[in-house]
Point group: D3
Chain length 156, copies 6
């Protein structure tokens, strides 16, 4: 049975040693959703059309979040991200906004956490900008959907 790798012999957390791992091209994709009221999602949509573009701010925040992952997740390695993009889908029928983040690096460890953090921070930013009119929003289904370039690929 495999073991948690982030602990040293004393049982304390460490930053896993990846010195011997090869530098390869790595990609990770993550997604997540924020649910809100009909009224709120309509506000977001109308801002997108006219002025008051919530998702433009969330886009910048998510990319910033990806870059700051190493500061936020204690055992994460610092990496040089070579590309970050986020796509939003607004589903005004089921009242959610979905964010999908794709992160790339050339490195010796993967960028799953960077993609997941980008999604989370983007969705939290949507929350922040809509919270004056809706306190019942919630974030759901934040998950990794794809990962390439490490020991083993993964795809949901």
């Amino acid at each position: 049975m495999s073991e948690l790798t982030h602990f040293n012999k004393a049982g304390r957390a460490k930053m896993v040693d990846v010195s011997e791992k090869k530098i390869t091209a790595r990609v990770a994709k993550a997604s997540g959703k924020i649910y809100m009221s009909k009224e709120t999602i309509n506000k977001v949509l109308s801002g997108h059309m006219n002025k008051g573009d919530v998702l433009a701010v969330a886009q910048v925040a998510g990319i910033n979040g990806a870059k700051k992952t190493w500061e936020l997740i204690p055992m994460c390695h610092n990496l040089l991200l070579t590309g970050v993009d986020i796509e939003f889908t607004v589903d005004d029928c089921h009242c959610y906004i979905e964010a999908v983040a794709e992160v790339k690096t050339q490195g010796n460890t993967g960028v799953e956490m960077e993609a997941l953090t980008a999604v989370n921070i983007a969705l939290l930013t949507v929350y922040d900008m809509c919270k004056a009119i809706d306190k019942r929003m919630y974030i759901e289904e934040v998950k990794l959907i794809e990962k390439q370039g490490g020991k083993s690929d993964f795809s949901l």
Copy 2:
């Protein structure tokens, strides 16, 4: 119908002017869950008992996340947090770990975003430390559950 408050006349995002708001004692509570496999949750639990305490790291990460909210959420105000605590519940029957964060301040704007960010970063840290053995974890039900001290109180 109420309007999104984070935009100026040109339709661009701004940090809302709270200069005239009163400084009051404010509290916010948020919660969220991370679901994982039976095997993974058992690892987390056994680490908790013996060594390799995932949640001790997630606790520190979540508190750090609360403090860094102003850096992550673009239109958030910087605040002096006067207290942050996080509680974890491990439900090994339904295979999730729940984090509940409580944040306090004496300020002229609320700490909802700080509580939500604390929850998110704590759960992402659990993800990070378990991802070597489980890539199918997902975060669910991140939401505000209580808020006091502003214009209107809120409780789920």
Copy 3:
């Protein structure tokens, strides 16, 4: 003749002691311009209309810059900003974009540096996003235009 206040008796820099100064409502306004080619400014303008909104990104960056001033300017005090807004004017006749930032706080020292930093970072972000098509842009006339709430008001 007045003296530079940021130095101690040994002639070394210090963060000036403002413990005894009163907490008052303070506002500062700063402005600056970035000049670019006709072609570049037209790109920025057309993005503004359709898609590819350079100034939306610069807006977020400038506000973030205001919040990070204390990390960037060594002797600056950390302050709780209570409002930040930036306005852009695009002058496609004289080929410049002007940014005007207004920053507010309730504090014992002013927010001139925050307003100036917001302007600078906003203009640098415009530079970054246009530099692939124009390497001859330059930033001009970054200056304080107004300041209220301290020992003496100032207005250009």
Copy 4:
């Protein structure tokens, strides 16, 4: 006609994918000036001679600014800077201080923004340390003056 490269198909900002670009030695040089009153520039000069060295603080601030560029300019890549230096020229005849920053990296994208940010933060630090005696200083001519190691070299 070339296009702005920082936007995805949805018209939203992205961190440009540089994964396929070659890692080369890159250098960028930028410059800028801060103008001040005769009295102020004499203070700066006398501090330089005796004690109260404004430019020593500005030097450290500018180098720090170069290192923090990725945090400040939203679509900038994080890079490993392999060298940063700043040179100041004090022209007490025309009452300005000029900063020239040179930044180096081994990377797959250039360091123009790092050099420009170093100049800006250095000049803002001069502003901060002299603002108690002079509120009419202004920053001018912040521009790229040289760039090597990318697709095309540039020199003013």
Copy 5:
């Protein structure tokens, strides 16, 4: 017997709740020493006289360290520092440099950690700038020497 206050009922670390504590003027002073070889200390001294001023850089670094304490020490509260100063004494007879940092705030918790962090970062900066010529330097006697404005004053 008094208890460690930084833990919640579950035995996990928390940011202690200081919401109810009064805002008072607080001061803390800390000191520490770095020992080095005769040759190294002479280099530092001669730089101080002529050019290559190690302590000017250490001064800026220490003040920056004080401001970043909340980011470095997990359970520290963010505070608005109202003054930071550092004084160095070079003892070329016993071959050490002593740093004494004084930090002030108006807040509901003390600034001991800020003063101690300022000292540490200042001394580490001296180490960094001298390490090319001396790898046997060491830091000693980092301690709090004075504290005022809290529940009880302290003086060494």
Copy 6:
């Protein structure tokens, strides 16, 4: 006689140019001690056994400190750390806790400062969490104990 390398011709600090240095595997180890009262060290020890684990928090803080070294030490290069671990030894006879940090990178400059910063921040975190019961703790013997992979190896 060797010279301090961190200064340019004008005698001002610079980030040393390491562009031409080879990328090699580098390791550094540093150590330090915090002394405290018998009562305090017993508290720390009993927390370790039961609940209230001071060293678990110090571990996370120290690793974070290593990652933030480039932000704290002005002339330090940003590096991609490929491994960080910290080990604590509690000597309840002589009343000290020793931290030993090991840091690894693949880079063109060493990680001494990262190891030293990890030790310092870990020990300061112990200080923070015990300071409510002991104000007379002090940090001693912070030093480099090993360094490999650069121009010359070093071992104490």
